[in-house]
Amino acid sequence: MSNPALYRRVVRRETHSPRSGLAITIAIVLVVVLAWLGTESVLAAIGQPALLVAPQDAVTAVLSAAAAPAPLLVALGAVVAVVGLVLIVMSLAPARRGRRGATIDRTAAIVDDRVIAQSLANTASYAGDVDPSQVTVSVGARRARVEITRTSGRTLNTREIQEAVDAELATYDYRPALRATVRLSEKGTVG
């Protein structure tokens, strides 16, 4: 009864951001501005003093702003245009959430990149016989970087660690798949 189409949909939705925060922020800003404009309109219509700016004054100000000095207008327009461009890019970007989906079976599974990083760090620290605090792992979109700080006075076999990390990665079935690079830090610690 498990439904592959449903699972694929859920995995896609859980690995990408819905952009809700951004959309809600823009909507709330618009609501505040519209509420203010509406209030000013009503106040002007019933002849009460304005809250901040009366509509008549606002229209005059906007229309006469076109005559403002050119550099000021250019700078203002450029800033506004850049904000708009950022919004367009954010609306089109895939917005990955640092998670990846595993193969679909009876269940679908989504794994946080941090869990993968901690597991790889654990593997590397066992394979190299170093303290877990001396291993740093960062997981990118397709690449996991394992960095190990040596204990001074002890040699470290990078190949063994690389093999152990690769063996761990080979058991993973996550998309997008990861490749690991093991690197020794240039600094050492006193062990």
Partner: protein, 200 residues
Amino acid sequence: MNSTNRFLNRLFVFVAGLVVLAAGAAVSVGALLPDAQSTISDGAESAVGPATDALDAQPWILWVAAVAAVLLIVSLLWFVFRQGRGHTGTLLRIDEASSRKAPSGGGVTLDVKVAAQVLEEAITRNPDVVSVDVAGFRVKNENTLRLTAHARRGASPVELRRSIDAAVAEWDAVLGTSTPIVIQIVSGLRTKFAGTNRVA
């Protein structure tokens, strides 16, 4: 897993960005071209008088503006409040004689809480799991369970999933049918405070 309309979110952000970009570009490009600026500012200055006169003489323009603002506010609030819906507390509903095999003479409704308690108990037996949250969602007209397992630091996600799948198989046997289940293996604050598992 919620039913947020993501396309609508992105479309909204895109349109807002397009309007802001167009406004900014129009202002700066218009100001860069001296001819255009002088034409527009002359036109605008001659329009100041008629515009304020119109607002003074015809207050219905202000009322229309107020009503339009209210309508827009309502639709924006609808847009905000329809985000994040889709939770359900019901896992399964078997109606009276819905099929030949089903027992007749009454309906059965099974709460998500039942599944939550059974699965939490079974999954937290694994020492690599700090805690489990179970939530029900309605996805594509099917009630779907989401299991969020907080992994202990350094736990292998592959083995974790295998053990959770075993618990799910037990639950399927208890339930007698299977509903879609999505597993999330995460690492968060609870992982941080729980410490590592010393026995490997």
